[in-house]
Symmetry: C2
């Protein structure tokens, strides 16, 4: 198995050459005070060392060991405590955090690269900082000044970790029907009782304290999603001097046996009159949760790319090393018993598909992160509004499309290994098992597609879609004289028109029946994602083309050739997706239960 | 998790109503003496009981336990020995075997249904009878009368099991470079030395003896695939009176830790001057192996359907049971907190996609089995030749397309469960892990695609393809007046024309460069499989339509509606595949190693 190497070269290309992040950063004073190109570069470099040198080497053995539960205590796999300490010492948990409370205030465009490295090197581990950062986001956005001062500094540092407690056995997608109760204690606290499941790193031995953000219902709460409140429930109470006090009355009842991310603990949490404090307003807990959702969902999309990158690295090394059969055009390495399998067109097809999705996915997630940064840091309200629209539209695409292609890529990377890919020691099967969860949690990919199609596209009557379409159209327009780009822009233009037509078609279908939204949603998200990747691939061609001549590293010429492959082989999938969507919902809705 | 129920209703529909197997069987005297409709039906019924009652209940716990290796001995999971005994007592191992040596001589069309049940209920277990049946096929086709008499009866009964020893650490796809040696002993035996890997059930405790068929090279053998011979190497020698003698000098060095099919032992076998006997002619071992390949490869395709059927059963039950959110058109079950998730269009899309592939796959594999039966049992040489051509063409499609769609279906079934699908107790994640191997072993799906595109389509200059195209065209022609069928036949006709055009296009591309074959192969196989499934779905419509009126069970009306879904939503994928293939091999071949 190849050692994981952080893809710093490509990350720098995307940040600096494709999206010119430094110029964007310096244009926004709130960001310019936190980041400059040298700082960003040093962060990438150091993150790469931790990912490759600390986290990746633990990945396989930790999967074998798993987290262990014993009488309410969870022991993390060997090496995790020490690795977590490295994260704490570097302040990595607070990379994107609010500087007022000890965060580093870095742009998401940069944080995204750190996340990709960490998740690509060791997804089970990476979930701990990821969940903590998510909890910090909610707390920072909605918590009282008192709560923020009390909890955020130790969470940004990572001395305390965070957990998000949403799901219950009977309530996953449908959080409106949760049963966990919060009774007022008469002071500023509440007494929380109920059972939560699927709580990632809800209990463990890596941090001194674990701060749970728990969804629960107040006694007088209205039914459904508008009656849910959010509470901060610490494992250990925090005294006024900041020291830790008694243990709160909740505990981890068990951890799940699962397909992958086995080194991470997925906890059943039993709250038995645990003391908690309200975050944000009563009955507005779901809204408070959704503040961090865009970041978390992009983060999950990035997990997909991270796993896919690791799979690509392994597969590429294996394809160059493993000799088997001869090239179709005749022996390439006559001194050996066979040629390296990278000579075979079908192996190249697999590697190029992987490369197309990984590098395209990285560029796309950075593009989405750019809009998150503008929405947060810009001084211009109109610009912020526009960016918020883009974020709302593109986040479900990033989450679902990148994790769907992430799994495809991991499976393909496993396939390159033949039988060896099925064996644990090569690491490829673990990437498949780990990556699979990314399509499921943080809102299944089906739910992402409904969010895109229903809440974003149809609910805005296509207005949000037009923001994206205008951005692509502008790029096409601005580069129409560029001879190198022309063939790509023609295909991109056709794909955009197709997506536009299908969007109109679904808007019309939805006037007839609300079932049209769910019938179109998953295929529509795929179609959207493929078109969005074509856009960022065209932007990569624009950035790479001037440097391709005389490029001896192969980096820029490889980019151009991979783009060609993407447009030739993968973008055509949009044609079929469009045709399927146009057929509407009738063929899905026609069956009675017995007919299934 | 749903209890596995053998899909007998659908199997009978496919056998009797779609392909009218009884008429075919009675038309071939060699088959008519072995099978009649009542016998076939009793076999299905009994097989269903064993699959659902004996094999399925062991499946999950066996996965947890795995097979265990200790000092060369392999202990199978709890209950496997007893289950194996049930298979022995029923003579199931020899269902398709040669009656001259104790087999039952049943047609593959029927055996295929048995295989699907066994593999769907418990794939790890099912591999033991499957490998034994495969070994019997080779031995029956190529072994001397003496070897057949000595070994086949106990293998057909299952008292002894069989194993196939092909792969070596450095030689998987490329068997031409194996290193295992066979030295003549001076009598009729040979001394075999070498290491084989990935040997399924190469060692275990379920049978009294294990008969290995081992590929090795004679001292004077030419290099490459034409210098490989096949040897029968028993674990225990067999005395002339049929009793077991001493143990042969080979052993199981270890078993693999792997992603799935964990209950089955995947063995490293070390042959240390083990005594073996030649099967077939010297240096013609690969050819002897390929005799059984068509059966085994169809069998692997059927494993894909089996796992997919199990996943569909679980997902359907869960979708009817799990309540979460409300239907887009308003609450359906107002007395409950939410509606069953089967009301959601996207859940229905998943279930219908699964159903389309499972039922279409079952019909397609039975169609391929029909050609295997004709090629084996027909008295008419021309008919046999024609059937052999069909088998040669369709086998790689059955193996790869059905396992690719098998994995898709298992993943989709897991997705229906949301987070619960990732947890071991629901069984869905095991189906994904188990099914994954079917795309890899018995020739990876990439190799199947090369076989189809290169050895079958291009090497025959399209002649083999025309056999299939003519069969489809004949069906379209014969039913052109049928009003119910018309819309399906129009789509089928267009798909066939598309496949035909693409076939011509690749034949032309291949004249320019041999890389065209590998560049097109995987997408071509997909395109072929989708078209073939459209054909069998049209045949199912023809069989179901006359019975749909007044059908209160939902079986026939469900068939018609699923067909509609397939043609609306899945068949359109052919359009994109065709477009991708037409772009040729340039975009794949353009990159240097560094550019990847």
């Amino acid at each position: 198995m190849a050692d994981y190497q952080a893809p710093l070269r490509d990350m720098r290309f995307v940040l600096n050459e494709v999206f010119d992040a430094p110029t964007l950063w310096s244009s926004m004073p709130k960001l310019a005070e936190n980041v400059d190109p040298d700082t960003a570069d040093a962060i990438l470099e150091e993150a790469g060392k931790i990912a490759g040198g600390v986290l990746a080497p633990l990945n396989r053995e930790a999967d074998e060991q798993g987290s262990k539960w014993n009488d309410g205590e969870v022991t993390s796999p060997e090496g995790f405590k020490e690795a977590y300490q490295t994260i704490v010492e570097g302040g990595w948990n607070g990379l994107g955090g609010n500087p007022e409370f000890g965060g580093m205030g870095m742009p998401k465009m940069l944080v995204a690269q750190f996340e990709e490295m960490m998740q690509g090197a060791n997804m089970s581990f990476g979930l701990a900082p990821m969940l903590t950062a998510g909890a910090c986001l909610s707390l920072n956005a909605h918590g009282s000044q008192e709560l923020k001062e009390k909890y955020l500094p130790n969470m940004y540092s990572g001395v305390w970790s965070g957990a998000m407690d949403l799901t219950e056995p009977h309530a996953g997608t449908d959080l409106g029907i949760i049963r966990t109760k919060a009774e007022p204690n008469g002071d500023d606290s509440y007494s929380i009782t109920g059972t939560k499941i699927f709580i990632t790193w809800g209990e463990h031995d890596m941090a001194e304290n674990i701060i749970h953000l728990v969804l629960a219902k107040l006694p007088d709460a209205p039914a459904g999603p508008k009656g849910i409140s959010l509470f901060l429930v610490p494992k250990f109470f925090v005294n006024d001097d900041g020291s830790l006090g008694e243990r709160n009355s909740f505990s981890c009842g068990s951890i799940e046996k699962k397909m992958g991310i086995k080194a991470s603990a997925t906890c059943v949490m039993n709250f038995d009159g645990a003391k908690g404090w309200l975050v944000g307003e009563p009955n507005k807990g779901l809204a408070a949760m959704f503040t961090m959702m865009n970041y978390e969902r992009l983060g999950v999309g990035i997990q997909g790319i991270g796993a896919a990158e690791a799979s690509l690295q392994n597969a590429r090394e294996y394809a160059l090393d493993r000799i088997q059969s001869r090239a179709p055009t005749g022996a390439q390495q006559k001194d050996k018993a066979a040629d390296p399998i990278i000579v075979h067109p079908d192996v190249r097809r697999m590697l190029l598909t992987m490369k197309s999705y990984v590098e395209g996915g990285r560029a796309f997630s950075t593009y989405v992160a750019q809009w998150l940064d503008i929405s947060k840091f810009s001084d211009d309200e109109e610009q912020r509004k526009h960016a918020e629209g883009m974020v709302a539209l593109l986040t479900p695409v990033a989450k679902a499309f990148l994790t769907d292609r992430g799994l495809d890529t991991c499976i393909m990377g496993q396939q390159v290994f033949g039988g060896h890919g099925f064996i644990r020691e090569w690491g490829q099967e673990q990437l498949v098992r780990d990556c699979r969860i990314t399509q499921i949690y943080e809102g299944t990919n089906g739910i992402q597609a409904l969010d895109l199609m229903g809440r974003k596209v149809v609910a805005s009557k296509g207005k949000l879609f037009e923001l994206f379409a205008a951005d692509v159209a502008k790029f096409i327009q601005e580069n129409s004289d560029d001879a190198t780009l022309r063939p790509y822009l023609e295909s991109l233009s056709a794909a955009l028109e197709r997506l536009d037509d299908v969007t109109d078609a679904v808007l019309k279908q939805a006037e007839e029946t609300p079932n049209a939204i769910g019938a179109a949603s998953v295929d529509y998200l795929d179609l959207f994602g493929l078109t969005a990747l074509a856009y960022v691939w065209a932007r990569m061609v624009k950035a790479a083309a001037p440097k391709a001549e005389g490029d001896t590293s192969g980096f820029y010429t490889g980019k151009l050739k991979t783009a060609r492959f993407y447009f030739d082989r993968l973008l055509p999938k949009t044609v079929s997706l469009a045709e399927g969507i146009r057929s509407g919902s009738d063929s899905m809705m026609a069956l009675s239960d017995e007919e299934f």
